[in-house]
Amino acid sequence: MSGPASVRFEGVTKRFGEVVAVDSISFEVEPGNLVTLLGPSGCGKTTTLRMIAGLELASAGRIVIGGRDVTALPVTARDVAMVFQSYALFPHMTVAENVAYGLTVSRVPKAEVRARAERALELVGLAGYGARLPSELSGGQQQRVAVARAVVLEPDVLLFDEPLSNLDAKLRRRVREEIRELQQKLGITTVYVTHDQEEALAVSDRIIVMNQAVIAQEGTPRQLYEEPASRFVADFIGDANLVEARIRAVENGHAQVEAGGLGLQLPARGSAAGPALLAIRPRSIRLHAEPREHAVRVRVDKATYLGGHMEYEVEAPLGPLFVVDLAVDRPLPAGSDAWMTLAPRGVTLVPA
């Protein structure tokens, strides 16, 4: 075991004929971290992952894994392992044979192969399932076999390509926690691809948001949520009401913002006075049945009861807003008037 390695992309580009799938991206994954590549379909995240694996070779740029330049190395020569979206379990081999495959073809002695495969299956909670065929397992179990098959090689880097997309919603939450736990226990550098922002927020040390072949923003989950760098990121990570606002003045890094009759003081984040874009999280909007100070009057267009919370669509001077309110005991009926204030957190200026 060579210990956790870093992954570094230096101006990497991938072209398929005329199409540029990945356009000169650079980033670094710290050793032992789990980094998610997040973005809508076709943004280049899977291609980036496949370039780390060596399943695609970069058209330009450099890829460095653990200090070694692997740009031109084929898959087999790289010390990475990958969990495929479809799991790609070999249907003609038993679970144990699947897990042992990588070790067997690497000519590891047989006794060691068996011991390590057993340990890997134990690690994912499938001890005793070795003699079964993949087709005899449930979707969640197949997924775990795929993970065991990858980690048994103790790779420098572990890659996940949308590993939860073939599981049902309930199972997804559990499996993603298992993956995160396992990754932290083993301390393997991991790159994880998904299009599901909640999944990304839940498992990642850092997230790289990609859009249209380039990196839109990189940061911790909290940074991305609270300080989106662009309209795209604000909209993609969590729901956000994006409204036009006006910055009156900037002082000591704080901006005086006016939006539809509400006056706010927010971190300027590099914006100057003039028109601006404001991202308001649905949970940051407070609705009140009675008028109060600094509140603006809104009209409730639609009210939906969802058990744990209420969802409202309201017509405000800022424009139509989507609101999530935890006060289910005192619902506001559709068609009524209400007064709206903003919570201090969850409202941010978005750099143009």
């Binding site: 899977t46 694996a53 695609e56 979206q85 070999f90 003609h92």
Partner: protein, 749 residues
């Protein structure tokens, strides 16, 4: 009376049980009262009987008048069974009780029909049970229009009764379709095969002779092993088996090499290789054998050249095992190729990528992942090659020399100097057991492991390119073999235009003129060429048989893909069985089963049509299954929930979507019928000579030029029909895209 029933049906209105029931009862009664009961000598579509005596004539009378005027009292109980369901018409209550009544009436009627049909034939009564009903000298002939339609009516009475009792969730159309397919398979596949088995146990006079059977079964001509101990020949069973195994292996390996080159390399001429897959479909029998003789035979072009070059004596090496193996490999490799292309493409690229991320190099990936995943395809390809080789009749006949195989032995047992029906039956049983054993072995080999690699959401991976060493090996095999195939086919076209290929290469149109000349006669054009007669017959019979093949094939596919019923696996096995049965066996079994009443078909065109339909049905079934599996089942369900019944659903939803599959099934069964020989050779008669049997006659006379010219014409006709079909299917796809464009345009405007 029939009128009464239809008004009853009208009164019953929308009741799902009663309308089809009344319709089939009306058909049954009309057949009893109006249509000639027995088979007519003048053909199915002759109406001589109307003018020539009709009810008063012993041969032409419908069943009612047969009973009243012609002393065929044994037909009377049929009327009783047909009258029973009248009680059910118009009744909507007690559906289950009505169901029992219908089942009893239908089953009773059908049973009686079979009993009297087999018990009383052209020689008189043979069943003691029936003797009281049969006056002195009473006898009967094969079933005609009347008897067939009454049988159908009984069949549908049973299925409607079963539907009323819950078969196929009470769906009358589905139950009827299942019943029809089961009955047809029983009558035209199982019954003939059982006839072979029973006739093997009898001597040529029809008496039971189990010892004779054993004697024939253990015959040295079948099982002899003299060739192993040196000197003498081996039995035809061993010869067939050795040949089939070798052909299966060689076609599978060559097919795999072709499939790998086409799917896993950057080879330039992939499209050209793919066109090879059409060849086995459009190649008439004998033609490859002939080409091989003319190239490699004693006076063949290549043999002469090599003999001159090396100063050797030109030998007859090509006759016997090497020649047949060579010809069969040429003929059947494209089949294996076709099967394996699909299989190689079906191996999910992410499997191979996964193996590579697990440190396996390309060669290891290929041997441990790709190849094992192709196992079912390899097994299938081998099985196809094996069965085709066993059933092949044309190549051994032309190239066999003294190497006897089962398929040709069966032929000579029937048409040869020493006609021996029992021996033919015994040989057929040996041949059939070989094919069934091959099926069984295939199942065993594949075992319980799953090979389905496509699951859940797909990955967009790249298929692995072949490891360099393997790629070079594949090129080394594929390029020369493809060239050889091309040369052979070019030689075939060329061979029709020379005086005598191999001896006299003067260009001539003599063969074409002899076969296909048209002269201006007194009454317009006269088709004076020698081949026209068989040519038109072939076109006609092939075209007629294409329709029922497509209909029954697609109906069966629909039942298999879309419906669920208890005995579906057995049903599927039964419908695919005729594919496993070599054509020679179908041929022999048909003449044994259908030259006596109740189904007296030998010598007619119908028997040819029927043999084509049931030989080619699996093609239609598989085309239908392939297309239908791609159609979302919710389409049917949507139609059903919108108050359409199954029949309407099939007609309005499934059929329009299946149009390409229908066309494909039609064309392929047409083309296959044109090249069929192994079954046909037993079934042709003076009135119905087919192209392939005509060619066989020319080959036997050594008239190779004419045979080859005729084959070339057939190849062109078949190519034209396939091309036309692909053009039409292509047109349809364009046609479907057009409306969506216009609707989009409407929305934007």
């Amino acid at each position: 009376m029939a009128v009464t029933f239809s008004t009853a049906a009208a009164r019953a209105g929308g009741s799902s049980l009663n309308r089809p029931l009344a319709a089939w009862l009306a058909v049954g009664w009309a057949a009893m009262l109006l249509l000639p009961w027995y088979m007519l000598d003048d053909g199915l579509f002759s109406f001589v009987w109307l003018a020539d005596g009709y009810a008063g004539d012993r041969d032409y009378a419908p069943a009612l008048f047969q009973v009243l005027w012609h002393e065929r009292y044994w037909l009377a109980p049929l009327g009783l069974f047909l009258a029973l369901p009248l009680m059910a018409v118009g009744r909507t209550d007690h559906a289950r009780g009505t169901g029992m009544l219908l089942i009893a009436a239908g089953a009773g009627g059908l049973a009686w029909l079979l009993l009297q049909g087999f018990g009383i034939d052209h020689r008189g009564v043979s069943l003691a049970l029936l003797e009281p009903l049969v006056p002195e000298g009473g006898r009967q002939y094969g079933m005609g229009w009347g008897a067939s339609l009454v049988a159908l009516a009984f069949l549908f009475l049973i299925t409607q009764g079963l539907a009323a009792r819950g078969l196929a969730r009470g769906d009358v159309f589905v139950a009827g379709s299942i019943g029809l397919v089961v009955a047809l398979v029983a009558a035209f596949i199982f019954f003939p095969v059982l006839t072979i088995l029973s006739s093997a146990l009898r001597d040529n006079e029809g008496a039971l002779a189990p010892f004779l059977f054993l004697d024939k079964l253990l015959d040295g001509r079948i099982w002899g092993t003299a060739c192993l101990t040196g000197g003498g020949r081996c039995g035809s069973a061993w010869n067939s088996l050795i040949l089939a195994v070798l052909t299966g292996l060689s076609t599978t390996l060559l097919g795999l090499a072709f499939a790998l080159v086409v799917t896993r390399t950057g080879f330039r001429a992939k499209r050209m290789l793919r066109t090879l897959t059409v060849l086995p479909i459009i190649t008439p029998p004998f033609v490859i054998g002939l080409a091989i003789i003319l190239l490699f035979g004693r006076s063949g072009a290549v043999t002469q050249f090599v003999a001159d070059l090396l100063g050797l004596d030109a030998g007859r090496w090509v006759y016997g095992l090497p020649g047949i193996l060579f010809a069969q490999t040429l003929a059947f490799t494209p089949i294996a190729f076709l099967v394996l292309i699909g299989v190689v493409e079906g191996v999910s690229p992410s499997m191979e990528e996964a193996a590579q991320t697990l440190r396996a190099d390309p060669w290891t990936t290929f041997t441990t992942v790709s190849l094992p995943l192709m196992r079912p395809g390899l097994a299938n390809a081998f099985l196809l090659g094996f069965i085709e080789s066993l059933a092949d009749f044309g190549n051994p006949l032309v190239l066999g020399g003294s190497y006897d195989v089962l398929a040709t032995d069966i032929f000579f047992a029937i048409v040869g100097a020493q006609y021996d029906q029992g021996r033919a039956a015994v040989l057929a049983i040996v041949l059939l057991s070989f094919t069934l054993m091959a099926f069984w072995a295939q199942q065993r080999w594949l075992g319980r492991r799953s090979y389905a690699t496509v699951s859940g959401k797909g990955d967009s991976g790249l298929p692995l390119q072949l490891p360099p060493a393997l790629r070079r090996l594949c090129y080394l095999v594929v390029i020369p073999w493809a060239t050889l195939t091309a040369v052979i086919y070019l030689m075939i076209l060329f061979g029709g235009f020379v005086e005598f290929w191999g001896r006299d290469h003067t260009l001539t149109l003599r063969h074409y003129i002899h076969a296909f000349s048209v002269v201006e006669g007194e009454h317009g054009l006269v088709w004076s060429g020698a081949a026209w007669n068989s040519f038109w017959t072939t076109l006609q019979i092939a075209a007629i048989s294409a329709v029922p093949t497509a209909v029954i094939g697609l109906l069966t596919a629909w039942l298999l893909v879309r419906q669920s019923f208890g005995f579906k696996r057995a049903f599927e096995f039964g419908t695919m069985l005729s594919f496993a049965i070599p054509g020679t066996i179908i041929g022999v079994s048909y003449i044994l089963a259908f030259n006596v009443p109740p189904l007296e078909l030998t010598g007619t065109g119908i028997i040819l049509v029927i043999s084509f339909v049931f030989r080619n049905m699996p093609v239609g079934v598989r085309a239908g299954i392939a297309t239908m599996s791609q159609l979302d089942r919710s389409l049917d369900e949507a139609s059903l929930t919108l108050r359409a019944n199954s029949f309407t659903t099939v007609r309005k939803v499934i059929l329009p979507l299946l149009r390409p599959a229908i066309l494909a099934a039609l064309v392929y069964s047409f083309v296959r019928a044109m090249t069929a020989i192994s079954a046909v050779v037993f079934l042709v008669s003076a009135n119905y000579e087919m192209a392939t049997t005509y060619i066989l006659g020319r080959v036997e006379n050594g008239d190779y030029g004419l045979a080859i010219a005729y084959c070339s014409v057939l190849i062109l006709v078949m190519l034209a029909s396939i091309g036309l079909m692909q053009w039409v299917v292509g047109q349809r796809r364009l046609g479907r895209r057009a409306p969506s464009v216009t609707s989009a345009a409407e929305q934007t405007s």
